[in-house]
Amino acid sequence: MGAIPRLSCTSKLKTRAGRSCFRRNFTESQMKKVTNHSKHPKKEGGATDKKRPRRLEKIATGIEGFDDITGGGLPLRRTTLFMGGPGCGKTVFALQILVSSAAHHGVPGIFVAFEEDAHLVADNAETFGWDVEKLERKKQLFFVDACMRSDVVKAGAFDLTGLLAALEAKASEIGAKIIVFDAIDVLLSLLDDPAAEARELYRLHEWLKRFELTGIITTKIEDGKPGTAQRYGFMPFMADCAVLLTQRVADRAAVRTARIIKYRGSPHVLNEVPFMIGPAGLEVGSTNGVHPEPQPFKDRVSTGIRSLDTMLRGGLYRGTNALLTGSSGTGKTMLAGAFIEAACRRGERALFISFDENSRDIVRDLASVSIDLAPALESGLLRMVAVRTESASSEEHFMRIKRLIAEQKPRCVAIDPLSALARVGGGLAARAVAERLIYRCRNAGITVLFTSLLEGIDPQLETTTLHVSTIADSWIQLSYALLDGERNRALSIIKSRGSKHSNQLRELIFSDAGITLAEPYTGGGQVFMGALRVEKENGQRTETSRKRREIDGKRREVERMMKERDHQIDAAQRDLRDRCEELDVLTRAEQTSAAESTQRQDGVVRKRDGAAVQKQARSKSNGKPVSAGAKKRAASR
């Protein structure tokens, strides 16, 4: 910075010397930071080279979320206008950008306060924890008290020539690159001449351009009503970027919003985005941050209930979220507690955010189902935060939860119930917040279980107050089953993205032993629970044993019959055999007697004509006399 000539006593500053030193003094880190995606196209030498679109150079604002909606920050070396009614945060916006540039990128800046005492502005900045004093000492920041004293008399037209000359000298002295004109309208209104006011604004604008300063101008408009801005209606046309800030009350909750009306040469978010002035400065709630999409996890996270994990085929995927719906008393908090306890058991950091219920009460209640969060709480592994819903708008709650997550760095978060967000500020804002919260956790790889109260008791009416069920990865529904004078808790899984899951309605049982899901008992096409289930189970048991007895009886009878039959068969066979033997004996006896009678006859014949027969017999048996063998043969025949 030694190169800056001390030009305070010469008016030549505004010419070449000034311009070049402004350019040169842009620190390299800042240039890198703001121009990392704005490389100048290479010289168009080759005909094949297509001229790439040149990206606008930007300056990061350091305001969370704002760089997202502006696509990288404010236009570098150009003019940005912040407009808004009282209390919209114009000054804080400008101041934070200035302080952040000075503190984080070493880019000096000047703050010209037209409305507030510059010291007060600096003091206010200190309340955000910004060390303005140090920056002032280091000549990184300079406050110009441009607050017109009340006793100043105006007698005729004036212009900003002198002021700009003074600022020019100051800027080159400290090497300022950013200059804020806070509430320029206060000074301009003194002119009391629209034409003169416009002229001075253009003078300012040209001055900024000439010295290649990044200008931030804030101006009041009354409540954003059309017409009141007429006086400075040309301002947005003049500026390269214009942001409209509003503050309004929706359902008792004040909501601040920012909307980029225009941004020359840069795409940007057109919608109104909510923002909040938190303890550390502004935070803009934007959903469309260009965050790298996280790699989805493959591992599963236990819900803390083994049977529920089984129903989900192993638990929830890490980094996803589960919505737990149910009317009051269905046991949402218990399940959330089980989930958190399981996380702590695995040694993972966890965060339990409860709305409208004290942390200690929850710990006590969970102890009734053997969920002990106390050790994890003591060790700091778990942090429980009870939030009063009435205390803030949903936007503020979101910011707070975000901060808590940043502080605790949990891997598992339970929010009970998320629907409480909608209590102040209306459902629409709450839904946006819920969505952002879900996306944020998903990007951070945090597994979230959030409960949502269902109004009414009709389990068929499965709409959540926030309508977040569409963005939830898993949806577990808790309900009551009213059957025969009993109210039983029931659990079913409505959806579980990317995973198979049970379709059964299971009875949820809270007992001293913990939380369990009863094995599904179905009978006659119905799922039974409670006493009915016991009764049905008993009934079926009697029926079964009766049938078994009957079958046993029948079996015995058959067996007996078969035995009998076997006996009969045996007897019949024995009888048959006996008879066969008898027959055999008889047959043999009969043959013997027949043979004997033949012999007798032979004897008689021989006696009558013995010679003839002997001759015959001899020739038949080759001369051999008829032996006993022949006799035997004849007998057996």
């Binding site: 008016s11 100043v152 037209a157 004036f158 212009d159 020539t161 002198g162 003074a166 000298a169």
Partner: protein
Amino acid sequence: MTSPASNQGKHPNGAYVFRLYLASGAPNSVRALANLYAICRKHFPDSHRIELIDVLKEPLRALAEAVLVTPTLVKISPEPELQIIGNLSDEEEVLRSLGLPQKDSA
């Protein structure tokens, strides 16, 4: 840069001492200078002193002395100090703020 000062004595409170911050060459500043000379000549021709400060030449001085716009006229004496901004074409307003009778020129 000091304008020709005249002798003091006519005004009961002593001489009027003015300091005019201007941007040399800017129309409003040129007009303010002319108007200031005219008023002084007319109302206290013998008891005024005018100090001119060119903000373009001494830019940091203006900042240090809480001068924002040009032209700005500061009445240093008589007490109390008074700041008048503008090209002083509203003579009536200037005179009123200086505590002088307004229609005496007639």
